[in-house]
């Protein structure tokens, strides 16, 4: 079983954050543990599975199939292009 510090260190790598200086690490890890305490109310709650699956708080509109965007329209909507090619800034120097 991982302890809180091990969890924090593993998660910070997964989140592509850190490495932190000791003081910052202590503070963030401490906050992380305190906030997890807040979540205990969910594990202590009675079974929520009867909430039903036919209800959504964030309903999406119906999907409607449409023809794909044309290359011409795509190129026109791009900040820089050359012919049918899209130009992007160089990111690796």
């Amino acid at each position: 079983m991982e302890n809180a510090k091990e969890i924090f260190d593993r998660i910070s790598i997964l989140a592509r954050l850190g490495p932190y200086e000791e003081r910052q690490h202590g503070r963030l890890a401490g906050d992380f543990t305190r906030i997890l305490e807040l979540f205990k109310v969910l594990s202590e709650a009675p079974d929520l599975s009867d909430a039903g699956s036919d209800h959504s708080a964030a309903p999406l509109r119906e999907d409607v199939a449409k023809p794909s965007i044309s290359v011409k329209a795509l190129v026109e909507n791009f900040p820089q292009s050359e012919g049918s090619l899209l130009k992007v800034p160089k990111v690796i120097e």
Partner: protein, 504 residues
């Protein structure tokens, strides 16, 4: 009273020009914003050019829009073509938007004048606007206090007349709570009622754009302009928001008001707040409303559910800010030049350098609260914890939404406090994230359920700070909710609206 209608009338009749109107508001920004810091960017030239175009249209006898010459501010997490969008974050320093958000386009199409972009908690994560990388906004009622957040800049700008209205975004209360703290009207529409295309995403299943205004009538007018279907936002409902009806209860029977015991007996609520809300309830009762005590039993799960769901979505939405795809790259580390030898060792080294670049760019670019939430979200979605946290939170969310559905079978509206306290002092909760999260305890359930909610001023604290009343309605009841807020304003003769005392 509609400030917007009055501005439009004056501009349309030529009593004043759009340029004069813009200059008046720009002058007020010049005079006040040094003390308040509501704006991150004032777009003086753009505003004056837009105003000149409106005046020219009028001179040529062409029709002008419903918002002709109305000076409006927008939260700096909405894009405006050619202008910076910082989201209050260092990581977006230097970024210029390549397109304009649909909500802003809709305002401009009705001849509104965009004055500038307002301060916010970084990526809209916070309840005080202290998390901005560009410094906090001050509350116009007392500059030692926060304006609320995350849309604190927009609320403060409207409160002290540095904009006639403003746009904000509300993921867990970020329009309603600052509206309450600054003594203005703040409206969170039904989820899906307003396009979020061009809004930098925080938590996509919760985010909603809405207006701040000096009256419910102004908020309703802005909502009419903003509530349009948009093919660029798949959640934006086509015809989902009924128009026309302005009667609060839509019928001749008395208005039925629900009072949820979970909101009115909360131990963290100050007596000032509970007293002001009770007075507001008495006003509704005196006007013939039927008051019913109701229960929303899963309210106690809301904070936990929200602080799992919102950070989970944020961790995914903000993954793109890594110094390569988006966002400022850390200066002191550059990926090594690629000399491909096909060696496995070289490939691992390059991968490790790239990951280090991602990590350092994100750690230097994001502030502490954003990092905290990305960490929480990554944890909740990670293997071994997903069901116990994210799965439970989603089930709790459904239970909360069903509580509201049941309640709205018996009542037209629910009244509740907007926040448990009036504005708190700058720095008071800055080092205590849990205390800060509790500021949104009354607003969060509304986002989880996707319903409509407005905060309207209903009183003052013992220290003279504004207090907001929340009026909630079921999905699609937006115009009725705003009409009820408008009636409350009339019944109370707008006595809770006044000029902020912290600025003269």
């Amino acid at each position: 009273m509609s400030l917007i209608q009055e501005i439009v009338r004056r501009v349309k009749t030529g009593e004043t020009s759009a340029v004069q109107m813009a200059q008046e508001y720009l002058g007020r920004i010049d005079a006040l914003d040094g003390r308040i810091h509501a704006y991150l960017q004032v777009l003086k030239d753009r505003a004056l050019s837009a105003a000149e175009r409106i005046d020219e249209k009028r001179r040529r006898g062409e029709p002008v829009g419903r918002l002709a010459g109305v000076p409006i501010a927008i939260k700096d997490n909405m894009t405006l073509e050619g202008e910076a969008t910082t989201c209050g974050s260092k990581i977006l320093e230097g970024y210029r938007s390549t397109y304009t958000a649909t909500a802003v386009k809709l305002l401009e199409a009705e001849d509104a004048v965009i004055l500038g972009k307002t301060n916010l908690d970084e990526f809209a994560m916070g309840s005080s606007t202290e998390n901005s990388a560009y410094g906090p906004t001050k509350n116009p009622w007392n500059p030692d206090c926060v304006p609320g957040g995350s849309s604190g800049g927009s609320a403060a700008a409207v409160a002290c007349g540095m904009a006639a209205a403003a746009l904000g975004s509300d993921t867990g209360g970020s329009i309603r709570q600052p509206a309450s703290f600054c003594g203005v009207v703040g409206f969170k529409p039904t989820y899906g009622a307003v396009s979020r295309f061009g809004l930098v995403a925080f938590a996509s299943s919760l985010d909603q754009i809405g207006p701040f205004a000096q009256s419910a009538a102004d908020a309703a007018l802005l909502f009419d302009v903003l509530s349009q279907a948009d093919p660029q936002d798949s959640t934006c409902q086509v015809g989902g928001i009924p128009g026309g009806t302005i009667s609060p209860n839509g019928a001749s029977r008395p208005m039925r008001i629900g009072l949820p015991k979970e909101y009115l007996s909360h131990e963290g609520a100050s007596p000032d707040i509970l007293g002001a809300v009770q007075n507001a309830v008495n006003v509704f009762k005196k006007q013939g409303a039927v008051i019913k005590n109701i229960t929303l039993p899963n309210t106690r799960l809301a904070l936990a559910a929200y602080y799992i769901i919102a950070p989970s979505e944020a961790s995914a939405n903000l993954a793109r800010f890594d110094g390569i795809r988006y966002g400022r790259r850390v200066q002191s580390l550059k990926p090594a030049p690629r000399h491909d030898t096909g060696s496995k060792v070289q490939s691992q080294q390059e991968e490790s350098e790239l990951v280090e670049l991602y990590r350092r760019s994100r750690t230097e670019g994001f502030g502490a609260e954003v990092q905290r939430r990305i960490l929480l979200g990554t944890f909740a979605l990670s293997h071994g914890y997903y069901e116990a946290y994210y799965g439970k939170a989603q089930a709790a969310r459904l239970a909360i939404a069903q509580d509201f559905d049941r309640a709205f079978q018996g009542v037209d509206f629910i009244l509740a406090p907007t926040a448990p306290t009036a504005a708190f002092r700058i720095g008071e909760k800055a080092n205590d994230p849990v205390a800060m999260y509790l500021s949104d305890i009354y607003t969060i359930p509304v986002n989880l359920a996707g319903i409509a909610g407005v905060s309207v001023p209903c009183g003052f604290s013992s220290s003279g700070l504004p207090i907001g009343l929340q009026i909630l309605g079921p999905r699609g009841s937006d115009r009725k909710v705003l009409a009820a807020a408008g009636q409350f304003e009339q019944w109370t003769s707008r006595q809770y609206f006044s000029d902020p005392k912290g600025v003269k």
